[in-house]
Protein backbone atom coordinates (compact mmCIF):
# COMPACT_ATOMS: atom_id res chain seq x y z
CA UNK A 1 0.00 0.00 0.00
CA UNK A 2 2.83 2.36 0.88
CA UNK A 3 4.38 1.83 -2.54
CA UNK A 4 1.11 2.66 -4.30
CA UNK A 5 0.73 5.75 -2.12
CA UNK A 6 4.29 6.88 -2.87
CA UNK A 7 3.93 6.30 -6.59
CA UNK A 8 0.57 8.04 -6.86
CA UNK A 9 2.06 10.96 -4.88
CA UNK A 10 4.94 11.18 -7.35
CA UNK A 11 2.55 11.00 -10.32
CA UNK A 12 0.44 13.85 -8.92
CA UNK A 13 3.50 15.97 -8.15
CA UNK A 14 4.97 15.38 -11.61
CA UNK A 15 1.70 16.44 -13.21
CA UNK A 16 1.60 19.58 -11.06
CA UNK A 17 5.17 20.50 -12.06
CA UNK A 18 4.37 19.95 -15.74
CA UNK A 19 1.43 22.34 -15.69
CA UNK A 20 3.69 25.04 -14.20
CA UNK A 21 6.29 24.96 -16.98
CA UNK A 22 4.53 24.59 -20.35
CA UNK A 23 7.43 26.16 -22.31
CA UNK A 24 9.87 23.50 -21.12
CA UNK A 25 7.32 20.78 -21.91
CA UNK A 26 7.17 22.15 -25.46
CA UNK A 27 10.99 22.09 -25.76
CA UNK A 28 11.08 18.47 -24.60
CA UNK A 29 8.30 17.55 -27.04
CA UNK A 30 10.21 19.26 -29.88
CA UNK A 31 13.34 17.31 -28.95
CA UNK A 32 11.37 14.03 -28.97
CA UNK A 33 9.66 14.77 -32.25
CA UNK A 34 12.92 15.85 -33.88
CA UNK A 35 14.48 12.57 -32.80
CA UNK A 36 11.56 10.60 -34.28
CA UNK A 37 11.56 12.52 -37.58
CA UNK A 38 15.31 12.72 -38.16
CA UNK A 39 15.89 9.11 -37.18
CA UNK A 40 12.97 7.91 -39.31
CA UNK A 41 14.35 9.81 -42.32
CA UNK A 42 17.87 8.54 -41.76
CA UNK A 43 16.94 4.91 -41.07
CA UNK A 44 14.38 4.58 -43.88
CA UNK A 45 16.94 5.89 -46.42
CA UNK A 46 19.49 3.32 -45.29
CA UNK A 47 17.00 0.45 -44.91
CA UNK A 48 15.69 1.13 -48.43
CA UNK A 49 19.19 1.01 -49.88
CA UNK A 50 20.09 -2.10 -47.87
CA UNK A 51 17.00 -3.79 -49.26
CA UNK A 52 18.03 -2.93 -52.83
CA UNK A 53 21.44 -4.51 -52.25
CA UNK A 54 19.93 -7.52 -50.47
CA UNK A 55 17.61 -8.15 -53.44
CA UNK A 56 20.57 -7.90 -55.81
CA UNK A 57 22.58 -10.39 -53.74
CA UNK A 58 19.56 -12.70 -53.48
CA UNK A 59 19.03 -12.60 -57.25
CA UNK A 60 22.63 -13.57 -57.91
CA UNK A 61 22.41 -16.37 -55.39
CA UNK A 62 19.05 -17.59 -56.73
CA UNK A 63 20.71 -18.00 -60.13
CA UNK A 64 23.30 -20.17 -58.44
CA UNK A 65 20.90 -21.96 -56.10
CA UNK A 66 21.87 -25.45 -57.26
CA UNK A 67 25.51 -24.53 -56.91
CA UNK A 68 24.86 -23.09 -53.45
CA UNK A 69 23.04 -26.24 -52.36
CA UNK A 70 25.93 -28.40 -53.41
CA UNK A 71 28.53 -26.18 -51.77
CA UNK A 72 26.62 -26.28 -48.52
CA UNK A 73 26.21 -30.01 -48.90
CA UNK A 74 29.96 -30.59 -48.88
CA UNK A 75 30.07 -29.16 -45.40
CA UNK A 76 31.23 -25.60 -45.86
CA UNK A 77 29.47 -23.06 -43.73
CA UNK A 78 26.54 -21.26 -45.29
CA UNK A 79 28.39 -17.96 -45.09
CA UNK A 80 31.41 -19.31 -47.01
CA UNK A 81 29.15 -20.88 -49.63
CA UNK A 82 27.08 -17.73 -50.04
CA UNK A 83 30.09 -15.43 -50.27
CA UNK A 84 31.77 -17.65 -52.85
CA UNK A 85 29.11 -16.76 -55.44
CA UNK A 86 30.47 -14.21 -57.92
CA UNK A 87 29.44 -10.64 -57.10
CA UNK A 88 27.55 -11.47 -53.92
CA UNK A 89 30.43 -10.58 -51.59
CA UNK A 90 30.62 -6.98 -52.88
CA UNK A 91 26.93 -6.44 -52.19
CA UNK A 92 27.22 -8.02 -48.75
CA UNK A 93 30.19 -5.81 -47.81
CA UNK A 94 28.18 -2.74 -48.85
CA UNK A 95 25.23 -3.93 -46.78
CA UNK A 96 27.51 -4.39 -43.76
CA UNK A 97 28.93 -0.87 -44.22
CA UNK A 98 25.40 0.55 -44.37
CA UNK A 99 24.42 -1.44 -41.31
CA UNK A 100 27.42 -0.08 -39.42
CA UNK A 101 26.50 3.52 -40.37
CA UNK A 102 22.90 2.86 -39.32
CA UNK A 103 23.94 1.55 -35.93
CA UNK A 104 26.42 4.35 -35.24
CA UNK A 105 23.76 6.85 -36.34
CA UNK A 106 21.17 5.26 -34.04
CA UNK A 107 23.64 5.49 -31.16
CA UNK A 108 24.51 9.15 -31.76
CA UNK A 109 20.93 10.29 -32.41
CA UNK A 110 19.57 8.42 -29.43
CA UNK A 111 22.18 9.66 -26.96
CA UNK A 112 22.03 13.27 -28.18
CA UNK A 113 18.26 13.70 -28.19
CA UNK A 114 17.64 11.62 -25.08
CA UNK A 115 20.19 13.67 -23.16
CA UNK A 116 18.39 16.87 -24.17
CA UNK A 117 14.98 15.49 -23.19
CA UNK A 118 16.21 14.19 -19.83
CA UNK A 119 18.03 17.43 -19.12
CA UNK A 120 14.80 19.38 -19.73
CA UNK A 121 12.83 16.91 -17.60
CA UNK A 122 15.41 17.47 -14.83
CA UNK A 123 14.87 21.22 -15.08
CA UNK A 124 11.09 20.83 -14.86
CA UNK A 125 11.33 18.54 -11.85
CA UNK A 126 13.47 21.14 -10.08
CA UNK A 127 16.29 18.65 -9.67
CA UNK A 128 18.51 19.77 -12.47
CA UNK A 129 21.75 18.18 -13.45
CA UNK A 130 24.19 19.43 -16.03
CA UNK A 131 23.53 18.47 -19.63
CA UNK A 132 27.07 17.12 -19.87
CA UNK A 133 26.41 14.63 -17.04
CA UNK A 134 23.41 13.29 -18.94
CA UNK A 135 25.04 12.95 -22.31
CA UNK A 136 28.23 11.43 -20.89
CA UNK A 137 26.16 8.85 -18.99
CA UNK A 138 24.06 8.06 -22.05
CA UNK A 139 27.08 7.56 -24.29
CA UNK A 140 28.70 5.33 -21.71
CA UNK A 141 25.79 3.08 -20.83
CA UNK A 142 24.17 2.81 -24.24
CA UNK A 143 27.26 1.36 -25.80
CA UNK A 144 26.43 -1.96 -24.13
CA UNK A 145 23.05 -2.39 -25.74
CA UNK A 146 24.11 -0.95 -29.10
CA UNK A 147 26.76 -3.70 -29.27
CA UNK A 148 24.13 -6.32 -28.43
CA UNK A 149 21.81 -4.84 -31.02
CA UNK A 150 24.62 -4.89 -33.63
CA UNK A 151 25.26 -8.58 -33.04
CA UNK A 152 21.54 -9.28 -33.30
CA UNK A 153 21.28 -7.28 -36.56
CA UNK A 154 24.10 -9.28 -38.14
CA UNK A 155 22.52 -12.59 -37.09
CA UNK A 156 19.18 -11.42 -38.45
CA UNK A 157 20.75 -10.36 -41.75
CA UNK A 158 22.50 -13.72 -42.18
CA UNK A 159 19.36 -15.63 -41.24
CA UNK A 160 17.34 -13.51 -43.67
CA UNK A 161 19.73 -14.37 -46.50
CA UNK A 162 19.66 -18.03 -45.60
CA UNK A 163 15.90 -18.10 -45.62
CA UNK A 164 15.47 -16.11 -48.83
CA UNK A 165 18.17 -17.63 -50.93
CA UNK A 166 18.67 -21.17 -49.88
CA UNK A 167 16.90 -23.92 -51.71
CA UNK A 168 16.07 -25.31 -48.30
CA UNK A 169 13.02 -24.18 -46.31
CA UNK A 170 14.96 -22.96 -43.30
CA UNK A 171 12.54 -23.86 -40.58
CA UNK A 172 15.49 -23.82 -38.26
CA UNK A 173 16.12 -20.14 -38.82
CA UNK A 174 12.56 -19.26 -38.02
CA UNK A 175 12.96 -21.10 -34.74
CA UNK A 176 16.22 -19.22 -34.12
CA UNK A 177 14.57 -15.89 -34.65
CA UNK A 178 11.70 -16.95 -32.44
CA UNK A 179 14.13 -17.34 -29.58
CA UNK A 180 16.25 -14.33 -30.48
CA UNK A 181 13.59 -11.63 -30.67
CA UNK A 182 12.24 -11.96 -27.10
CA UNK A 183 15.78 -12.51 -25.84
CA UNK A 184 16.92 -9.30 -27.50
CA UNK A 185 13.85 -7.49 -26.18
CA UNK A 186 14.65 -8.57 -22.63
CA UNK A 187 18.31 -7.58 -22.97
CA UNK A 188 17.50 -4.16 -24.41
CA UNK A 189 14.79 -3.46 -21.85
CA UNK A 190 17.19 -4.53 -19.11
CA UNK A 191 19.98 -2.26 -20.28
CA UNK A 192 17.63 0.61 -21.05
CA UNK A 193 16.14 0.30 -17.57
CA UNK A 194 19.55 -0.02 -15.97
CA UNK A 195 20.93 2.91 -17.93
CA UNK A 196 18.10 5.18 -16.82
CA UNK A 197 18.31 4.14 -13.22
CA UNK A 198 22.07 4.63 -13.18
CA UNK A 199 21.78 8.24 -14.30
CA UNK A 200 21.09 9.68 -10.89
CA UNK A 201 23.16 7.60 -8.57
CA UNK A 202 26.58 9.07 -8.00
CA UNK A 203 29.41 9.56 -10.46
CA UNK A 204 30.46 6.34 -12.15
CA UNK A 205 33.77 5.88 -13.86
CA UNK A 206 33.35 2.62 -15.74
CA UNK A 207 30.56 0.93 -17.66
CA UNK A 208 30.72 -2.01 -15.26
CA UNK A 209 30.18 0.19 -12.18
CA UNK A 210 27.41 2.08 -13.99
CA UNK A 211 25.63 -1.20 -14.74
CA UNK A 212 26.08 -2.47 -11.21
CA UNK A 213 24.73 0.77 -9.70
CA UNK A 214 21.88 0.76 -12.20
CA UNK A 215 21.04 -2.86 -11.46
CA UNK A 216 21.03 -2.36 -7.68
CA UNK A 217 18.65 0.57 -7.95
CA UNK A 218 16.51 -0.76 -10.77
CA UNK A 219 14.65 -3.20 -8.51
CA UNK A 220 13.38 -0.34 -6.36
CA UNK A 221 12.19 1.52 -9.43
CA UNK A 222 10.07 -1.27 -10.92
CA UNK A 223 6.75 0.01 -9.46
CA UNK A 224 7.47 3.42 -10.98
CA UNK A 225 8.26 1.88 -14.35
CA UNK A 226 5.04 -0.15 -14.26
CA UNK A 227 2.92 2.90 -13.36
CA UNK A 228 4.45 4.93 -16.18
CA UNK A 229 4.10 2.08 -18.67
CA UNK A 230 0.41 1.81 -17.81
CA UNK A 231 -0.17 5.55 -18.24
CA UNK A 232 1.67 5.67 -21.57
CA UNK A 233 -0.15 2.55 -22.80
CA UNK A 234 -3.49 4.13 -21.88
CA UNK A 235 -2.65 7.37 -23.69
CA UNK A 236 -1.45 5.42 -26.71
CA UNK A 237 -4.64 3.34 -26.76
CA UNK A 238 -6.70 6.54 -26.78
CA UNK A 239 -4.60 7.85 -29.67
CA UNK A 240 -5.17 4.63 -31.64
CA UNK A 241 -8.91 4.93 -31.01
CA UNK A 242 -8.97 8.56 -32.15
CA UNK A 243 -6.99 7.58 -35.26
CA UNK A 244 -9.90 5.37 -36.33
CA UNK A 245 -12.14 8.43 -36.57
CA UNK A 246 -9.81 11.25 -37.54
CA UNK A 247 -6.17 11.31 -38.56
CA UNK A 248 -5.82 15.03 -37.83
CA UNK A 249 -7.38 14.72 -34.37
CA UNK A 250 -5.07 11.79 -33.69
CA UNK A 251 -2.05 13.88 -34.74
CA UNK A 252 -3.12 16.72 -32.45
CA UNK A 253 -3.60 14.25 -29.58
CA UNK A 254 -0.13 12.80 -30.25
CA UNK A 255 1.47 16.25 -29.95
CA UNK A 256 -0.69 17.43 -27.06
CA UNK A 257 -0.75 14.26 -24.95
CA UNK A 258 1.53 11.48 -26.12
CA UNK A 259 4.74 13.50 -26.46
CA UNK A 260 4.29 15.28 -23.11
CA UNK A 261 3.58 11.90 -21.53
CA UNK A 262 7.18 10.94 -22.30
CA UNK A 263 8.41 14.01 -20.44
CA UNK A 264 5.97 13.22 -17.65
CA UNK A 265 7.48 9.73 -17.41
CA UNK A 266 10.99 11.17 -17.19
CA UNK A 267 9.98 13.62 -14.47
CA UNK A 268 8.41 10.84 -12.41
CA UNK A 269 11.53 8.69 -12.76
CA UNK A 270 13.84 11.57 -11.86
CA UNK A 271 11.79 12.31 -8.76
CA UNK A 272 11.69 8.68 -7.65
CA UNK A 273 15.41 8.24 -8.21
CA UNK A 274 16.38 11.48 -6.51
CA UNK A 275 14.17 10.68 -3.51
CA UNK A 276 15.80 7.29 -3.25
CA UNK A 277 19.19 8.96 -3.46
CA UNK A 278 18.35 11.49 -0.77
CA UNK A 279 17.12 8.77 1.60
CA UNK A 280 20.42 6.97 1.12
CA UNK A 281 22.50 10.02 1.95
CA UNK A 282 20.38 11.24 4.88
Amino acid sequence: MKIIKDISGQLREAFRLMTRKPALIAYAAISDILFILIFAFFSSAIYGKMLEYAIAASSLAAKSSAELGSIVAVSQTFYQAFMSIDGVNLFVYDILIMMFILLVGAYVFYCFFQAISWHIAGKISGRRKSYYRFIASFFKINIVWIIIYSVFSIIRLTAGFREQISTRPYIGNMLDMGFLIPALGIIIIYFAAVSYSSLFFGKKKSIASTISVGYRNFRGLIPGYIAIALIIALIHAIQVLIFRYSVIASGIFFIAAELPSLTFARIVMIRIMEDKNEKKTE
Binding site: I38, F41, F42, A45, I46, K49, E52, Y53, I55, A56, S59, L60, A62, K63, S65, A66, E67, L68, G69, S70, V72, A73, V74, S75, G87, F91, D94, M98, I101, G105, V108, F109, F112, S130, Y131, Y132, R133, I135, A136, T167, R168, P169, Y170, I171, G172, N173, L175, D176
Partner: protein, 227 residues
Protein backbone atom coordinates in the same frame (compact mmCIF):
# COMPACT_ATOMS: atom_id res chain seq x y z
CA UNK B 1 37.41 22.04 -18.07
CA UNK B 2 33.96 22.80 -16.70
CA UNK B 3 30.90 20.71 -17.56
CA UNK B 4 29.42 23.60 -19.56
CA UNK B 5 32.50 23.90 -21.75
CA UNK B 6 32.67 20.16 -22.24
CA UNK B 7 28.99 20.09 -23.17
CA UNK B 8 29.51 22.93 -25.65
CA UNK B 9 32.34 21.11 -27.45
CA UNK B 10 30.44 17.83 -27.37
CA UNK B 11 27.34 19.50 -28.80
CA UNK B 12 29.33 20.95 -31.71
CA UNK B 13 30.85 17.55 -32.46
CA UNK B 14 27.47 15.84 -32.25
CA UNK B 15 25.75 18.50 -34.34
CA UNK B 16 28.40 18.00 -37.06
CA UNK B 17 27.95 14.23 -36.86
CA UNK B 18 24.16 14.50 -37.11
CA UNK B 19 24.52 16.87 -40.07
CA UNK B 20 26.83 14.34 -41.72
CA UNK B 21 24.31 11.56 -41.19
CA UNK B 22 21.54 13.70 -42.70
CA UNK B 23 23.71 14.56 -45.73
CA UNK B 24 24.51 10.87 -46.07
CA UNK B 25 20.78 10.02 -46.07
CA UNK B 26 20.04 12.64 -48.74
CA UNK B 27 22.94 11.59 -50.96
CA UNK B 28 22.74 7.86 -50.35
CA UNK B 29 21.89 7.13 -54.01
CA UNK B 30 25.16 8.62 -55.18
CA UNK B 31 27.21 7.03 -52.40
CA UNK B 32 25.65 3.59 -52.93
CA UNK B 33 24.44 3.56 -56.56
CA UNK B 34 21.74 1.22 -57.87
CA UNK B 35 23.25 -2.30 -57.64
CA UNK B 36 23.88 -3.91 -61.03
CA UNK B 37 23.70 -7.70 -61.17
CA UNK B 38 23.77 -8.10 -64.94
CA UNK B 39 20.84 -10.52 -64.65
CA UNK B 40 17.59 -10.54 -66.60
CA UNK B 41 14.29 -12.05 -65.42
CA UNK B 42 15.02 -15.19 -67.44
CA UNK B 43 18.15 -15.85 -65.42
CA UNK B 44 16.26 -16.59 -62.23
CA UNK B 45 15.25 -20.25 -62.22
CA UNK B 46 11.66 -21.10 -61.43
CA UNK B 47 11.02 -23.41 -58.52
CA UNK B 48 10.43 -26.88 -59.88
CA UNK B 49 7.70 -29.16 -58.53
CA UNK B 50 8.81 -31.14 -55.50
CA UNK B 51 9.40 -34.81 -55.88
CA UNK B 52 9.62 -37.55 -53.35
CA UNK B 53 11.16 -40.77 -54.49
CA UNK B 54 10.79 -42.57 -51.19
CA UNK B 55 8.07 -45.22 -51.51
CA UNK B 56 9.33 -47.33 -48.62
CA UNK B 57 10.95 -50.67 -47.97
CA UNK B 58 7.98 -52.91 -48.84
CA UNK B 59 5.33 -51.03 -50.82
CA UNK B 60 1.92 -52.70 -50.53
CA UNK B 61 2.56 -54.23 -47.07
CA UNK B 62 -0.46 -54.13 -44.70
CA UNK B 63 1.33 -51.87 -42.24
CA UNK B 64 2.84 -48.58 -43.30
CA UNK B 65 5.23 -47.01 -40.80
CA UNK B 66 6.27 -43.51 -41.77
CA UNK B 67 8.94 -41.87 -39.65
CA UNK B 68 9.80 -38.16 -39.82
CA UNK B 69 13.29 -38.12 -38.47
CA UNK B 70 16.63 -36.36 -38.22
CA UNK B 71 19.86 -38.37 -38.19
CA UNK B 72 21.41 -35.98 -35.68
CA UNK B 73 18.44 -35.72 -33.34
CA UNK B 74 19.00 -37.33 -29.95
CA UNK B 75 15.40 -38.56 -29.71
CA UNK B 76 15.42 -39.98 -33.23
CA UNK B 77 18.64 -41.78 -32.40
CA UNK B 78 17.05 -43.10 -29.21
CA UNK B 79 14.20 -44.60 -31.25
CA UNK B 80 16.44 -46.09 -33.92
CA UNK B 81 17.14 -49.50 -32.24
CA UNK B 82 13.44 -49.85 -31.35
CA UNK B 83 12.40 -49.16 -34.94
CA UNK B 84 15.03 -51.56 -36.21
CA UNK B 85 13.72 -54.31 -33.94
CA UNK B 86 10.18 -53.68 -35.19
CA UNK B 87 11.31 -53.82 -38.83
CA UNK B 88 13.16 -57.07 -38.22
CA UNK B 89 10.18 -58.62 -36.45
CA UNK B 90 7.47 -57.64 -38.92
CA UNK B 91 9.63 -58.22 -41.99
CA UNK B 92 7.64 -58.04 -45.22
CA UNK B 93 4.43 -57.13 -43.39
CA UNK B 94 5.66 -53.61 -42.80
CA UNK B 95 6.47 -50.83 -45.25
CA UNK B 96 8.91 -48.43 -43.64
CA UNK B 97 8.99 -44.94 -45.16
CA UNK B 98 11.72 -42.67 -43.85
CA UNK B 99 11.03 -38.95 -44.26
CA UNK B 100 13.64 -36.31 -43.61
CA UNK B 101 13.10 -33.51 -41.17
CA UNK B 102 16.63 -32.23 -40.48
CA UNK B 103 16.92 -29.24 -38.18
CA UNK B 104 20.21 -27.66 -39.06
CA UNK B 105 19.93 -24.92 -36.48
CA UNK B 106 19.82 -27.48 -33.69
CA UNK B 107 21.93 -30.26 -35.12
CA UNK B 108 25.17 -29.73 -37.00
CA UNK B 109 25.27 -31.29 -40.49
CA UNK B 110 21.78 -32.79 -40.16
CA UNK B 111 20.80 -31.57 -43.63
CA UNK B 112 24.03 -32.83 -45.16
CA UNK B 113 23.45 -36.24 -43.56
CA UNK B 114 19.99 -36.36 -45.14
CA UNK B 115 21.46 -35.53 -48.55
CA UNK B 116 24.16 -38.18 -48.14
CA UNK B 117 21.54 -40.83 -47.29
CA UNK B 118 19.52 -39.93 -50.39
CA UNK B 119 22.66 -40.25 -52.51
CA UNK B 120 23.13 -43.72 -51.03
CA UNK B 121 19.55 -44.54 -52.11
CA UNK B 122 20.65 -44.02 -55.72
CA UNK B 123 22.95 -47.00 -55.22
CA UNK B 124 20.22 -49.03 -53.43
CA UNK B 125 21.89 -48.65 -50.06
CA UNK B 126 19.54 -46.26 -48.30
CA UNK B 127 18.63 -48.48 -45.36
CA UNK B 128 22.23 -49.54 -44.83
CA UNK B 129 23.34 -45.89 -44.90
CA UNK B 130 20.42 -44.98 -42.62
CA UNK B 131 21.54 -47.57 -40.06
CA UNK B 132 25.18 -46.52 -40.30
CA UNK B 133 24.32 -42.85 -39.76
CA UNK B 134 22.26 -43.65 -36.68
CA UNK B 135 25.08 -45.79 -35.36
CA UNK B 136 27.82 -43.25 -36.16
CA UNK B 137 29.32 -41.31 -33.29
CA UNK B 138 29.90 -38.11 -35.25
CA UNK B 139 28.08 -36.42 -38.10
CA UNK B 140 30.50 -34.75 -40.51
CA UNK B 141 31.93 -34.99 -44.01
CA UNK B 142 34.49 -37.55 -42.88
CA UNK B 143 31.75 -39.80 -41.45
CA UNK B 144 29.68 -39.57 -44.65
CA UNK B 145 32.68 -40.56 -46.71
CA UNK B 146 33.84 -43.40 -44.44
CA UNK B 147 30.31 -44.88 -44.36
CA UNK B 148 30.14 -44.75 -48.17
CA UNK B 149 33.46 -46.57 -48.39
CA UNK B 150 32.46 -49.14 -45.77
CA UNK B 151 29.23 -49.88 -47.66
CA UNK B 152 31.12 -50.23 -50.91
CA UNK B 153 29.39 -47.35 -52.67
CA UNK B 154 30.79 -45.97 -55.89
CA UNK B 155 32.55 -42.98 -54.33
CA UNK B 156 32.81 -40.85 -57.47
CA UNK B 157 29.10 -41.34 -58.16
CA UNK B 158 28.31 -40.56 -54.51
CA UNK B 159 30.44 -37.39 -54.56
CA UNK B 160 28.95 -36.13 -57.80
CA UNK B 161 25.46 -36.79 -56.40
CA UNK B 162 26.25 -34.65 -53.35
CA UNK B 163 27.82 -31.90 -55.43
CA UNK B 164 24.87 -31.80 -57.86
CA UNK B 165 22.51 -30.54 -55.15
CA UNK B 166 19.69 -32.59 -56.73
CA UNK B 167 18.71 -34.28 -53.48
CA UNK B 168 17.95 -30.96 -51.81
CA UNK B 169 14.51 -31.05 -53.45
CA UNK B 170 13.69 -34.43 -51.89
CA UNK B 171 14.61 -33.25 -48.42
CA UNK B 172 12.61 -30.07 -48.99
CA UNK B 173 9.64 -32.08 -50.11
CA UNK B 174 9.70 -34.13 -46.90
CA UNK B 175 10.17 -31.02 -44.79
CA UNK B 176 7.28 -29.32 -46.51
CA UNK B 177 5.11 -32.38 -45.89
CA UNK B 178 6.06 -32.21 -42.22
CA UNK B 179 5.10 -28.55 -42.08
CA UNK B 180 1.77 -29.26 -43.77
CA UNK B 181 1.06 -31.86 -41.09
CA UNK B 182 2.03 -29.47 -38.27
CA UNK B 183 5.04 -31.58 -37.38
CA UNK B 184 7.52 -29.42 -35.49
CA UNK B 185 9.98 -31.92 -34.05
CA UNK B 186 11.42 -35.39 -34.48
CA UNK B 187 10.77 -38.25 -34.37
CA UNK B 188 7.14 -38.52 -35.44
CA UNK B 189 5.70 -41.89 -36.43
CA UNK B 190 2.64 -42.40 -38.59
CA UNK B 191 1.31 -45.95 -38.47
CA UNK B 192 -1.40 -46.47 -41.07
CA UNK B 193 -2.43 -42.87 -40.58
CA UNK B 194 -2.26 -42.77 -36.76
CA UNK B 195 0.24 -40.20 -35.56
CA UNK B 196 2.56 -40.90 -32.63
CA UNK B 197 4.76 -38.02 -31.55
CA UNK B 198 8.15 -38.36 -29.87
CA UNK B 199 10.67 -41.05 -29.10
CA UNK B 200 9.00 -44.46 -28.67
CA UNK B 201 10.12 -47.72 -27.17
CA UNK B 202 9.62 -51.12 -28.77
CA UNK B 203 6.46 -51.95 -26.77
CA UNK B 204 4.57 -48.79 -27.66
CA UNK B 205 5.44 -49.10 -31.34
CA UNK B 206 4.45 -52.77 -31.32
CA UNK B 207 1.11 -52.13 -29.64
CA UNK B 208 0.34 -49.34 -32.12
CA UNK B 209 1.12 -51.69 -35.02
CA UNK B 210 -0.81 -54.61 -33.54
CA UNK B 211 -3.80 -52.32 -33.11
CA UNK B 212 -3.70 -51.74 -36.84
CA UNK B 213 -3.55 -55.49 -37.48
CA UNK B 214 -6.54 -56.11 -35.23
CA UNK B 215 -9.48 -57.30 -37.45
CA UNK B 216 -11.84 -54.78 -35.82
CA UNK B 217 -9.51 -51.90 -36.65
CA UNK B 218 -9.18 -53.14 -40.21
CA UNK B 219 -13.01 -53.31 -40.58
CA UNK B 220 -13.35 -49.84 -39.04
CA UNK B 221 -10.75 -48.57 -41.44
CA UNK B 222 -12.51 -50.04 -44.46
CA UNK B 223 -15.91 -48.76 -43.26
CA UNK B 224 -14.44 -45.34 -42.64
CA UNK B 225 -13.03 -45.22 -46.13
CA UNK B 226 -16.24 -46.44 -47.81
CA UNK B 227 -18.46 -44.06 -45.80
Amino acid sequence: MKDKQKAFILNIVLACLILLFIIFSVRIDSIFPQPMTGLSADDIPEQKAFINTSSGTNPGAPIELIEFSDFSCVFSRQSYPEVKQILNEYGENINFVFKHFPQDNLHANAFDAAIASECARDQDKFMEYHDALFEAESMDGYTFKSISEALGLDISEFDSCIKSGDKVKIIMSDMREAQQNNIIGTPVFIINGDIIIGSQDYDSLKSAIDKQLDPETIVEGIMGRTI
